[in-house]
């Protein structure tokens, strides 16, 4: 039972559900934490692309017999730095450089996996399989999550300064290039941490959807960030519960719950707006009741 001194109620009463809950909460919090910065930088799809690249790492690990997680992490980090370097060098137009790295990555993953002698396939990494994760897998996720939280606790304000105005940040001596590279690397770390939970095909959704929801309701960057993390955690908990209740794929269910949260937030915003229209300001009222 993870050594926990308390017993959790249904649906988290079994050990495999507790492991899933721990990993889900960590990823639910950290994916939107990184996502808030990359969405504002207009790089929403970076997570998706690095997910593709991580598949190459998993494929290589199947062939080499190394750990899928650490191999995927190494490959994704190298790819993140390569993309950031291509972006600053403007060596290729932005989206073409990304396409080259990303599709090259997933193709290499598929080819490498097809050459491996083991029966393991890529599916748990493509779609996630949190319910079969071992305690070792989960503690790795917790460790990667801790790295992300500590890095953002230190570099978050400077990353915000770069998001606000990169030129002004550079003039002010803030190491914008190094921070951009750090953000790309943290994105890679997030992708690999989330790989077993929601799968590489859906990891970008968990980095983007909670941010989109939170941004509708929050007033400041700080509340957007905390709100996105809350939406991510709630999505993970509800998604896992629903997955257990109705025997659904956990990763997909978590992402669907966060998509649902966006729909609910949009509804709240539109109701609020309609409320505003229903009570026109006094001078408008006078205008309407004036002589025709």
């Amino acid at each position: 039972m993870l050594g926990m001194p308390w017993a959790l109620p249904w649906p988290f009463d079994r050990e495999y559900m507790q492991l899933a809950l721990l990993a889900g909460v960590v990823v639910g919090a950290t994916a939107p934490l990184i996502g808030t910065f990359i969405v504002q930088r207009g790089m929403s799809l970076l997570g998706d692309g690095l997910g593709h690249v991580a598949v190459a790492g998993v494929g290589a690990s199947l062939l080499l017999g190394t750990s899928p997680t650490w191999t995927a992490l190494a490959v994704a980090v190298v790819a993140a730095l390569l993309i950031e370097w291509l972006r600053t060098r403007e060596a290729a137009s932005g989206d073409l450089a990304l396409a080259l790295v990303f599709y090259g990555g997933i193709a290499a993953g598929v080819v490498l996996a097809s050459r491996s002698a083991t029966n393991t396939n890529l599916e748990p990494y493509l779609f996630g399989s949190i319910l079969t994760a071992t305690p070792g897998d989960v503690w790795t996720v917790v460790g990667l999550g801790a790295v992300i939280v500590i890095a953002i606790a230190i570099a978050g304000p400077a990353l915000l300064a770069v998001v606000l105005d990169e030129d002004a940040a550079r003039v002010a001596g803030i190491p914008a290039r190094a921070l951009n590279a750090l953000l790309a690397v943290l994105t890679a770390v997030t992708v690999v941490a989330a790989m077993r939970i929601v799968g590489v095909l859906l990891v970008a959704a968990l980095m983007v959807l909670p941010v989109a929801t939170s941004r509708l309701l929050a007033r400041s960057f700080r509340t957007t960030l905390l709100g996105a993390m809350a939406v991510g955690v709630i999505s993970a908990v509800l998604g896992l519960a629903a997955a257990r209740q109705w025997a659904l794929a956990a990763g997909g269910t978590i992402v669907l719950v966060s998509a649902l949260s966006f729909a609910v937030a949009s509804l709240i915003v539109s109701v609020r707006r309609r409320g505003g229209v229903a009570t026109p300001p006094a001078d408008t009222g006078a205008l309407l009741s004036g002589p025709h």
Partner: protein, 271 residues
């Protein structure tokens, strides 16, 4: 309409360079391919000086500004800020920069206070947590541009003039010794220009900082300037507003004429 007949270009360039400049360019030239955008530009801004770099659109002001800030290397010549090359200046907070306009996405949910706080990082150390003195500097910066009441507002909810003041407060939060502003009054209404002027005068007079205002429109601050440099690919005038007035040009009264007289100021020998 002004009828300015300039003396040969060199005669307009009085030697008003300060002894110990906070910012100096020596013989700076810049080419985009074969196109020479800047030719042999030398200028200096002294400590505590309120200076303006004026010139029509396409005169090379923006390029010179990027070179002065260290964002762009010159093709030839040197730039020094506080005695160092801008990029290798150790205390980068000493140079504050106010960009032309807010470049953040309109949907970025950042408040006025968050934006101004981010301007404090160069002084505070970007990896450090804010101390009491940092929070006080941010509060003072907000106060000096009359934004304290709007501190919790989202940037996207502000008018153009208010956003401009946020950008000034952001630069002021680091308590710079030189503040460089790029076309700060573009698209800002007259009331906002008054507030803008007050905040710059406050910075120069109360904090002893130098200001370099880069603009094609100097009406709002014409009466407060110590030093005017007019650029048209090279420096065509460098002196005090009084010296400029002696040539028959008044920055304050003939605001609308400014681009016209800039057309008249041509160096005799165009390189």
């Amino acid at each position: 309409m002004l009828n300015l007949e300039p003396e040969p270009g060199a005669a307009l360039v009085a030697d008003s360079r300060p002894a110990a400049p906070v910012l100096a360019a020596e013989h700076v030239s810049f080419r985009y391919g074969n196109d020479e955008v800047l030719h042999d530009v030398s200028l200096a801004v002294g400590a505590g000086e309120f200076a303006a770099l004026a010139g029509p659109n396409g005169s090379g002001k923006s390029t010179l500004l990027r070179i002065l800030l260290g964002l762009l290397p010159p093709s030839s010549g040197t730039v020094q800020a506080f005695g160092s090359e801008p990029r290798s200046l150790r205390d980068r907070w000493r140079v504050g920069y106010v960009p032309q306009r807010l470049r953040i996405a309109p949907d970025l949910p950042a408040t006025v206070h968050e934006v101004v706080t981010s301007g404090r990082l160069p002084k505070q150390g970007w990896w450090r947590r804010a101390r009491r003195s940092d929070r006080e500097a941010v509060d003072h910066a907000l106060e000096s541009v009359a934004l304290t009441d709007l501190r919790s507002r989202r940037m996207a909810e502000l008018s153009g003039g208010q956003q401009q003041r946020v950008l000034i407060a952001k630069a002021l939060a680091a308590e710079p010794e030189l503040l460089v502003l790029d076309e700060p009054v573009a698209g800002v209404d007259v009331d906002a220009q008054g507030l803008f002027r007050d905040s710059l005068v406050h910075l120069v007079r109360e904090h002893g900082a130098a200001v370099l205002l880069v603009s094609h429109e100097l009406g709002a601050v014409a009466d407060d300037l110590d030093h005017v440099i007019v650029l048209k690919r090279s420096v065509v005038f460098d002196g005090t507003p009084a010296e400029l007035a002696a040539t028959g040009v008044s920055l304050g009264v003939h605001r609308d004429d400014l681009p016209l007289w800039l057309e008249e100021l041509r160096p005799e020998e165009w390189p």
